[in-house]
């Protein structure tokens, strides 16, 4: 059975199913109750599961994450919503110094099955602190798992897989794509949580990215094809750990890779992936792995985000540079 759903509704359906199947799952965040969250991802869930399963929290991000740690110690599986990417930083200590390390500090005796949902990234013309790409902060922290779906089917399944994980998962939701529809197979999960996926086959250049950037990569691949260049596109899906298998297989065939991300480039996920691919597939490469990213500036005012964010043209420029080696 499948259904055509926007990502926000797919997430809603995934959360609903998790609430139904495990009564230790609970949702907590700001405005997630009657309002259904500012992006309506939790719409209707408090009505159906009650205020003890779907909790409107005080406006305190460190409090949301810190109390979720205690709830997890008490056997719950909290799924948290941080209202916007830029608001996760007040909770940064509780995420990186506490949540990420609790299992390690307890030598495995205490598990932290906590999911932190964060709407992230640009493309929505919002105001300051509402359009950030903080993934590198979390992928840099041992103890956290970090994932990001790019389509409705993954959103539906990956949220459930994240909730099932005994480890803390930072679940990055590409907010620009909340309304993008896709087929959701409600019965068969496609891939494990930490697998990357080839979503378009090609022979000349491997394009890699995650979240909202996947759409842009597909656009670039279509444009490249019209110019006679065949691009393979890989959706990273899991940011920590990275599933390098499909990336390395692909680059060994194409000899070229372009990595695209919204986040600033310096010490970013793209830096890490470029370095690793060059270490592991050096002799297969015809050109250095190139990165297309946001600039190393604070996310600009909305009227400049079109300039800041990588688009298909900037990706194609990198494809051309790669092919020129």
């Amino acid at each position: 059975m499948s259904e055509n759903l926007p990502i926000s509704r797919a997430l809603n359906a995934g959360l609903r199913r998790a609430l139904e199947t495990n009564d230790r799952v609970l949702l907590m965040g700001e405005d997630i109750g009657p309002l259904g969250g500012v992006f309506r991802v939790t719409e209707g869930l408090q009505k159906d599961f009650g205020p003890r399963r779907v909790i409107d929290s005080p406006l305190a991000e460190s409090g949301i994450v810190g109390t979720a740690i205690g709830l997890a110690m008490g056997g719950f599986r909290p799924v948290l919503e941080i209202q916007f990417d830029g608001f996760v930083f007040p909770a940064f200590d509780q995420i990186t110094s506490q949540l990420a390390k609790i299992t390690n500090r307890h030598e495995g005796a205490v598990r932290m099955p906590v999911v932190i949902r964060i709407p992230y990234g640009g493309h929505i013309g919002a105001v300051e602190h509402h359009q950030e790409s903080p993934e590198a902060y979390f992928t840099h922290t041992a103890g956290l798992r970090v994932v990001s779906p790019s389509n409705a089917n993954d959103a539906y399944w990956m949220i459930q897989q994240a909730i099932d994980s005994p480890d803390p998962v930072v679940f990055l939701e590409p907010k620009a794509k909340y309304w993008q529809k896709g087929e959701v197979d409600l019965e068969a999960p496609a891939l494990p949580l930490h697998a990357s996926r080839v979503i378009r086959r090609g022979t000349d250049v491997t394009l890699v990215g995650h979240g909202a950037m996947v759409t842009t990569l597909l656009q670039a691949a279509a444009l490249a094809e019209s110019e006679g260049t065949s691009c393979e596109v890989i959706d990273l899906r899991s940011l920590s750990p990275v599933d390098y298998g499909p990336l390395l297989d692909s680059v060994r065939r194409t000899g070229r890779m372009v990595y695209a991300q919204e986040a600033p480039g310096f010490t970013s996920l793209g830096s890490e992936i470029a370095a690793t691919v060059m270490e592991k597939a050096f002799f297969a490469l015809e050109a250095p792995v190139l990165r297309v990213s946001g600039f190393d500036v604070p996310f600009p005012p909305a009227k400049l985000e079109g300039t800041y964010l990588p688009d298909a043209d900037r990706i194609l420029e990198a494809v051309d540079r790669s092919l020129a080696y």
Binding site: P58, G66, M73, R145
Partner: protein, 376 residues
């Protein structure tokens, strides 16, 4: 007016050990009257033992056996009173100085030694029944107040408090200090605790100094008054009076356990030693101040009280011997501590396999093997 002159202060024993309840202590006297001789003697023995342990651990640090030691010297009464007030089913969240609290709950003091020696980041398993639901130390100030509050929220959600059955109801007690009271997490914990009416006692040990910074820099008003702002009934107690500390904690825990919501206690005490073995209190406080607080020593106070009640010389000698035995045991076992295998570093970062960690562990194994091979 010194902090100890606040008319709201609950004190039962004067500094010289005579029974001299303050007006605020009147409501607690039945709880103290109910204590048996054996319980009173246990309080004393707890304090004496942990001081002997504390002195031993400080010496071990000075001798290079430990990376650091945070002494509890002087704060024994606040800790013993509150910990003895907790029931077996209650949950304990210490910060990093609650040595006697953990001991009362069953944690092996050597587990704290292992932490301070650099063999672990935790040292004990809070889910192991022998550790009395006692969580590991948290070194980031105030962070554990949120964990305690979350656990308390879970108790509410699971109907594990306020059932009307005090044998079954559970509560949480969380320890933090006057310095930590400035942390945002403590503020957020109190907001959540009040909002969700957690069965929780916030136990603030005001030892007057946050390393070198006096409590006046943390707050211009008595810290216990903050609780009221969150809608949390709050009490100030003489933390060097083990009887008052016990009674105030017992009532607060009983009320929390029964479904009355959170309670806050500010125990006025004094860190007679250094913050940790890394600092030097003579640089920031006067010997007059230290002398004044030495005159309020919680152990001397309780000893005078017990002597006046007729406790025998033998009892005190036995308590001292018990402390000495603990200290000796800790020294012997510290010297026997081995190292940790390198694999330990990789083992519990995640509960399930993580590709990067696995790859790095394999690399290190190969690397070590190649070095061993090269040496042949």
């Amino acid at each position: 007016m010194t902090p100890l002159d606040d008319p709201a202060l609950v004190r039962v024993l004067a500094a010289d050990g005579t029974l001299a309840p303050t007006p605020a202590a009147e409501r607690y006297l039945p709880l103290i009257d109910a204590l048996t001789d054996a319980e009173l003697e246990t309080f004393y023995r707890d304090m004496v033992s942990i001081r002997a342990f504390d002195v031993q651990a400080t010496n071990l640090q000075r001798q290079g056996q430990l990376a650091l030691w945070p002494p509890s010297f002087g704060q024994e009464a606040a800790q013993v009173g509150s910990a003895r007030a907790a029931r077996a089913q209650d949950h304990i969240f210490p910060s990093y100085r609650e040595h006697v609290v953990t001991r009362i709950r069953g944690v092996d003091p050597l587990d704290i030694i292992r932490l301070m020696r650099g063999l672990t980041h935790g040292g004990w398993d809070p889910t192991d029944p022998k550790n009395g639901n006692t969580h590991i130390y948290t070194l980031v100030l105030g962070a554990q107040t949120l964990h305690a509050t979350g656990l308390g929220m879970g108790l509410v959600f699971d109907g594990k408090c306020g059932t009307g059955d005090p044998e079954r109801d559970e509560a949480v007690i969380v320890y933090y200090g006057d310095g930590a009271s400035s942390q945002g997490d403590v503020h957020e914990a109190m907001v959540f605790a009040a909002s969700f009416q957690t069965p929780e006692v916030f136990f603030l040990q005001n030892n007057q100094w946050a390393i070198s910074v006096p409590v006046a820099t943390q707050s211009r008003s008595p810290l216990y008054k903050r609780g009221e702002g969150y809608g949390i009934p709050s009490t100030q107690v003489d933390g060097n009076d083990v009887l008052a500390s016990y009674a105030v904690s017992k009532l607060a825990l009983d009320e929390a356990r029964a479904g009355g919501g959170p309670r806050a206690i500010e125990a006025m005490t004094y860190r007679m030693g250094a913050h940790t073995t890394s600092d030097d209190p003579t640089k920031y406080r006067t010997s007059d101040e230290e002398k004044a607080w030495a005159g309020r020593d919680p152990i001397a106070r309780m000893r005078a009280f017990l002597e006046a009640r007729g406790a025998s010389r033998q009892f005190f000698d036995d308590a001292d011997a018990e402390g000495a035995a603990l200290a000796d045991d800790v020294r012997v076992r510290t010297n026997e501590l081995g190292s940790i295998p390198r694999a330990h570093m990789f083992e519990s970062v995640y509960s399930e396999a993580h590709a990067l960690i696995q790859e790095e562990q394999r690399w290190l194994d190969d690397y070590e093997a190649s070095m061993e091979g090269g040496a042949e």
